[in-house]
């Protein structure tokens, strides 16, 4: 069999691609393609993990972020939290091993997901500086803190411990991570400053202390003392999986029968639905799921997509809510008007999600500037790839003119406003691993538009009202200014006492005020 020989030859050439090689080739996919972005990504991964950990422990987060500049292109990022801490044996794995994490393939609304983030930062640090990262973590006041200096063995994808010790730490529990890296600090729309600010807006229950490279200390104080509702983990919905995932699930299931597998490992499948599925796939419900071959798995997959299944539960999501969205915005952006909307949960491809939108208008916001769009996914700011994001598309596709903003064609609206859009989901469909932009699912875009139209309508009625009041005041003001002029002209013409004329005119103005304003409107 010539084919077999060929395959064996090929196998000799095949080798495992080391993680570092993979990283160097694909750093742009992970968001580490330039030093400015690398700094942001590192802060982001650390803070996202800290916030997720605090939420999981149900503790109000206290986060300290510090950027220290060592040389022109060398920085140290330190992030400290009051989370649950990491048990001693897990510390090296969490930071020193790629694709290691508790949240991988778990369906719940958390910030991180693949367990890729922090270790990628560690790898980047190692590749650009050769330095180890430093971690202190403590899980209880009764236990000591553990200190580690770690690197990643890029050949084996295993942590390499350079130093470990027990130590005292003033905290009861928490984690502190210090990463040295090649980076560049910049201000602006895609900066760490902006990331921290937006994070504070959409996480109004968080205290953040942020120390910039110029030693400026910025404190973002929490505006609410309650933790957000805990997101619940849900099982995958049959419409939301891919064939590969199904095959993985078949291998690792604890169920002994196919029908058991379907009912236990998926949401919204009961015995009737399960029966319908394996019958349609011509499979035996009592067969062992771990022994299903690839052809049968594909049959099963197709059957699962064809059978009607009710939508997944949506109470697993934790939206920010209209009140807190407005509170968060108010705390950071001085405007005259705020509005927010939190839509009912919906489902795309078996994944539940919620769209929330908010808008701030007037105040210190620039009048003739392009309206800013703050994009957020599971409470994490998205600062890059605005043009490639479904949120942007939905925003520019919305007609803002009826809502009182200027807009030319399908561009971002212009006016003194900030638009905030948050998507919360157990599985946000990002366009890349750096999680910069939301993918263009038509059902998601439609839902975003509905949310934008909702806040738009609130904004429009506010603008109309204030503009109307202003115009009315101007109109009355005009007459008040004209009356003395007319009176003095009439005095010159007739010799009648000026004060007397003015008094009668003022009287008419007061009497006919209402009438005047209405006439003015008709005239328009």
């Amino acid at each position: 069999m010539p084919e077999k020989i060929k395959a064996e030859e090929l196998a000799k050439k095949q080798r495992q691609v080391s993680v570092s090689e993979f990283f160097v080739r694909n750093r742009h996919l992970l968001g580490f393609d330039n030093p400015v972005r690398a700094l942001l990504m590192t802060v982001k991964e650390l803070v996202d993990n800290s916030l997720d950990a605090c939420d999981e422990m149900r503790v109000l987060p206290e986060i300290v972020i510090e950027l220290k500049q060592l040389s022109e292109s060398r920085y140290i990022v330190t992030v400290e939290d009051n989370g649950p801490g990491i048990v001693k044996v897990q510390i090296p794995n969490v930071f020193g091993k790629l694709l290691y994490g508790s949240k991988f393939a778990k369906l719940s609304q958390t910030r991180g997901k693949q367990g890729l983030g922090v270790s990628v930062s560690v790898l980047y640090s190692q590749l650009t500086t050769g330095k180890a990262i430093k971690v202190i973590s403590k899980i209880s006041s009764k236990k000591p803190a553990h200190y580690y200096e770690l690197k990643i063995n890029t050949q084996k994808n295993e942590p390499e411990i350079l130093k470990e010790k027990e130590m005292d730490w003033k905290k009861d529990h928490g984690t502190k991570v210090e990463i040295e890296l090649e980076a560049k600090y910049q201000k602006g729309r895609q900066s760490v400053d902006e990331y921290v600010k937006q994070t504070a807006i959409v996480n109004p229950h968080v205290n953040i202390t942020y120390i910039t490279p110029t030693k400026e200390k910025i404190f973002y104080k929490r505006v609410v003392e309650e933790l957000p509702r805990e997101p619940r983990e849900i099982k995958p919905h049959p419409y939301g999986i891919e064939l590969g995932t199904l095959m993985q699930m078949l291998i690792s299931t604890t169920a002994n029968t196919l029908t058991g597998f379907l009912q236990n490992d998926f949401s919204r499948i009961g015995s009737t639905t399960a029966k319908e599925m394996y019958n349609l796939a011509s499979l035996n419900g009592k067969s062992n799921p771990r022994k299903l071959d690839a052809t049968s798995a594909e049959k099963l997959f197709n059957a699962m997509q064809k059978v009607k299944v009710i939508a997944p539960p949506t109470d697993c999501l934790s939206p920010i809510g209209e009140t807190l969205l407005i509170k968060g915005l108010k705390n950071e952006i001085k405007a005259d008007f705020y509005a927010a909307t939190s839509r009912s949960p919906t489902v795309y491809r078996g994944f539940p999600y919620i769209i929330e939108a908010a808008v701030a208008y007037g105040g210190e916001l620039g009048k003739e500037e392009t309206t800013r769009l703050l994009r957020l996914a599971n409470r994490v700011p998205l600062l890059y790839q605005q043009g490639a994001c479904a949120i942007t598309e939905a925003t520019t596709d919305t007609n803002w003119k009826p809502y009182g903003l200027q807009q030319s064609g399908s561009n971002m609206p212009i006016g003194p406003a900030i638009i905030l859009l948050h998507i919360a989901s157990v599985w946000v469909p990002f366009t890349n691993e750096a999680k910069d932009a939301v993918a263009h699912y038509p059902e998601i875009i439609k839902e975003i538009k509905l949310a934008l139209q909702d806040v738009g309508r609130q904004l429009g009625s506010y603008i109309r009202k204030t503009v109307k009041v202003k115009e009315q005041q101007e109109r009355v003001g005009l007459f008040e200014k004209y009356i003395p002029e007319l009176s003095s002209s009439l005095y010159n013409l007739t010799g009648v006492n000026k004060g007397k004329i003015e008094a009668s005119l003022q009287k008419i103005l007061k009497k006919s005020l209402k009438n005047l304003l209405e006439n003015g409107e008709k005239a328009k």
Binding site: K481, S489, L490, L493, T494, V496, S504, L516, G520
Partner: protein, 363 residues
């Protein structure tokens, strides 16, 4: 004189008192004026003049759209009464604009933004008081020249129109108080071009033909129209109008004969239904071989010709409709000066004498 002055002052004061009374009664002060737009212009076939129709417009002070105009009208009335009539001085339209111009305290609004505002207010007051602008002591710029065997008296001075050198007498805005002491002329030629007037004056056309020559530069001013009317009425002199062969020239003739839209309220004092059109007619173009001097019509020219042809007072005039048809066919215009191609004094020695002798006029 003094009596009339007082009457004008009283009329203006009465206008103000009426407004004050309305205000005292708690009414929104309102001025009622006839509408001065084409929609309210009537061609009176009997008198052959354009007059204002009966459509009235109300202008109220407490109305966002009217307030400023209302204020302008009253302010200009007070300026005219106090600054001009009471001091016995005259001023130009431009002066009135500057006297009224100021920023209303506490606003960024100017009482008058440009001269059209104050000019319009003056026209309103003419309508309200039935006195002319000149009687309100507001004069326009001097415009136009005159020459002929006429002696007049103006402001105590005696002036002989035949003895004023190359410039002639320039016609003031107010010709109301001029007295004609001696008029020795058989007719008047009025022309739109100063250059043509200078030609005729140098050739002593008025002396040789015993007539009066008058020119303006472009549109005929009120002063000239009133002077023409007085000579026509008081001395029964026929008037012939000499203009370019184009829609704008035709319109100059139309204004002198029938009146204009803007001044329909003053029709009585200004229109002269008896004037006749001497040239350049479309027939002249063929007769005097002027085709080679054609100037192509612009779109504007075409549109204007169409408008004029549709005016009530031209609509049923067969002779004029024939002219309009010919001009439309020519699709071009001819200037008076093109006659000079046949010799510099062709106009004074041949063209005009011939036309007058043969009575080649359009009516």
């Amino acid at each position: 004189m003094v009596k009339k002055q007082n009457k004008i002052k009283e009329e203006l004061k009465g206008f103000g008192i009426d407004i004050v009374k309305q205000a005292e009664k708690g009414k929104n002060p309102t001025i009622t004026l006839p509408v001065r737009a084409l929609s309210n212009i009537i061609y009176d076939r009997k008198t052959r003049t354009l007059v204002l129709g009966k459509k009235m417009a109300e202008r109220s002070f407490f109305n966002v759209a009217h307030a400023k105009k209302f204020l302008q009208t009253v302010e200009v009335a007070s300026i005219i009464k106090r600054e001009l009539l009471e001091s016995g001085k005259h001023s130009s339209l431009r002066d009135v604009f500057y006297m009224a111009k100021r920023t209303i305290p506490g606003t960024t609004v100017n009482l008058v933004d440009d001269q059209t505002d104050s000019d319009k207010a003056i026209e309103d007051l003419e309508v309200v008081t039935t006195f002319s602008r000149e009687q309100l002591h507001v004069n326009a710029n001097k415009n136009g020249s005159i020459a002929g065997k006429v002696v007049i008296e103006d402001s105590g001075d005696t002036i002989d129109w035949s003895k004023l050198g190359s410039g002639g007498w320039s016609i003031p805005s107010n010709v109301e108080n001029i007295k004609f002491k001696k008029v020795n002329a058989k007719y008047i030629i009025y022309m739109e071009k100063a250059a043509v007037w200078e030609r005729l004056h140098e050739d002593k056309f008025w002396n040789k033909n015993n007539c009066i020559i008058i020119s303006s530069q472009g549109q005929t001013t009120r002063g000239i129209r009133r002077l023409l009317q007085r000579l026509y009425e008081e001395h029964k002199l026929p008037i012939y109008v000499l203009v370019d062969n184009d829609p704008w020239g035709f319109y100059i003739y139309s204004v002198i004969k029938y009146g204009s839209i803007a001044l329909a309220h003053a029709a009585e004092r200004l229109t002269i239904p008896g004037v006749k059109f001497i040239g350049i007619s479309c027939d002249d173009i063929t007769k005097y071989d002027l085709k080679k001097h054609f100037i192509r019509f612009t779109d504007q020219d075409k549109a204007r010709l169409k408008q004029i042809a549709e005016y009530d007072w031209f609509k049923d005039n067969k002779e004029w409709q024939r002219q309009f048809e010919m001009m439309k066919k020519n699709d071009a215009k001819v200037e008076i000066q093109s006659l000079s191609s046949r010799g510099i004094s062709f106009i004074s020695e041949k063209y005009l004498p011939e036309k007058i002798k043969n009575k080649e006029f359009l009516d």
